[in-house]
Subunit: 194 residues, 2 copies
C-alpha cells in the first residue's frame, strides 16, 4: 500500500516548513513519518524528489478542490471570483504547505531548473479556461490575451500568498482579501465613470 509514501510526504511538509528545505534532513523526515531512514529511499531518491512529489500531489489535490468548488458557478466571471477565494482559502487552511509552496520550493535548484512545470501549467490553464469562457460570454474583454491575463491574476495571488507567509502567516486573514483581489482584477483600480 501507499500508506508509508503518504506518511513520508505528510512528514515532509511538516519538516520542510519547520526546518526549511535547505536544512531539513531526510532522517528527520523519516523520524517524523515513523519509518526507518532506509524506507524513504524505497520511495524517493533524495530530498528534492520528496519536495517534487509533495508539489505534484498537493497541486493535484488543490486543482481538484478548485475544480469542484468552481463547478457550482455558471459564468466565467463567477468562476474566477470563486477561484480567487478558493486559492487564498487553501493557503489559509494549509499554512505549512503554503510555506513549502511559497518559500521552500523555490530554493530547490532541481525543482526550478528541471521540473517541467506541468502541474503549474495545469492550474494556469484552468484559470485561462475561465477567462476564455468569460470572453465568449461577453463579460470579459477580448482585446487582452488570455495568457497575459491568467499570468497577471496568478502573479497577484502568488505575491499575496508569499507576503502572507513571510509576514508570519496567521497574522491577518488572507481569505478576506480575496474579494478585493478579484475586484482589482475584474474591475480594475480606476474609479469607474458614473
Amino acid at each position: 500500500m501507499n500508506d508509508k509514501r503518504e506518511r513520508i510526504l505528510k512528514a515532509g511538509v511538516n519538516v520542510f516548513a519547520r526546518r526549511g528545505f535547505y536544512s531539513a534532513k531526510v532522517s528527520e523526515i523519516a523520524r517524523a513519518a515513523g519509518v526507518a531512514d532506509g524506507t524513504i529511499y524505497l520511495y524517493f531518491r533524495n530530498k528534492d524528489e520528496i519536495l517534487l512529489s509533495i508539489f505534484e500531489q498537493e497541486m493535484s489535490r488543490f486543482i481538484t478542490v478548485v475544480e469542484n468548488e468552481t463547478g457550482g458557478e455558471e459564468s466565467g466571471l463567477d468562476k474566477i471570483r470563486k477561484l480567487v477565494r478558493v486559492h487564498l482559502g487553501f493557503v489559509k487552511k494549509n499554512p505549512d504547505l503554503a510555506q513549502v509552496f511559497q518559500l521552500e520550493l523555490r530554493q530547490s535548484n532541481k525543482f526550478i531548473k528541471e521540473y517541467d512545470g506541468s502541474k503549474l501549467k495545469e492550474y494556469l490553464d484552468l484559470i485561462g479556461k475561465f477567462i476564455k469562457q468569460g470572453q465568449r460570454e461577453g463579460s470579459l474583454r477580448t482585446d487582452l490575451p488570455p495568457g497575459l491575463v491568467k499570468r497577471s491574476l496568478f502573479g497577484a495571488l502568488d505575491e499575496i500568498a508569499t507576503h502572507w507567509v513571510l509576514s508570519g502567516g496567521r497574522k491577518y486573514d488572507i481569505e478576506q482579501s480575496a474579494d478585493q483581489i478579484a475586484d482589482i482584477f475584474i474591475s480594475g483600480v480606476a474609479v469607474q465613470p458614473k
Copy 2:
C-alpha cells in the same frame, strides 16, 4: 577605488545567469572579473554575499531609473502606467540580470531567509506612493487597501517577468505587454458598461 568591486559584481551577474547560482563557483567569477580568487574575499565573504550585493546595487539603480522616468508624469495614474513600462523595459534591457533576479536569487537560502527585504520594500513603497496619489486625486478607488493593490501589481509584473525569462527570454517582446498589463490593473478585465 571600487572599480574591482564593480567588476566582480558585473562578472557575478554574468556567471550566475550562465551557470546558475547553485553551480557557479567564486573562482569563475574571479576569472570573469579578471581578479585573483583571493581578491574577491577582500570585498565579499562568500557567493551569497555577492548575490545579495548584486541585488542591492541593481535594485537601487532600478529604483532610480523608475523614479527618474516617472518624474515626468503628473498624475498618479500616469506614473503607474509609466512604472509598468519601465519595469518590463528594464527586464528586457537586462536579460542576464533578469535571470538572476527572477530565478537565481530565489535559490539562495540566505537571501530568502535572512535578507530584510529593504530594497524590495522601497520599490513596493514607491508603487504604493503612486497608488495613494491616484486615490487622493480621485482617479483610483479608495475602497481598496494600497498595500494589497501594490502587491497585486508587483505580483503580476513579477510573474510576467519570470515567465519571460523561463520561456527563453528574448523570444517575445515583454515591453509590448506593458500597456496591456497596466490596462488589466487600472481598468480591469471586465467589459465596461457602455
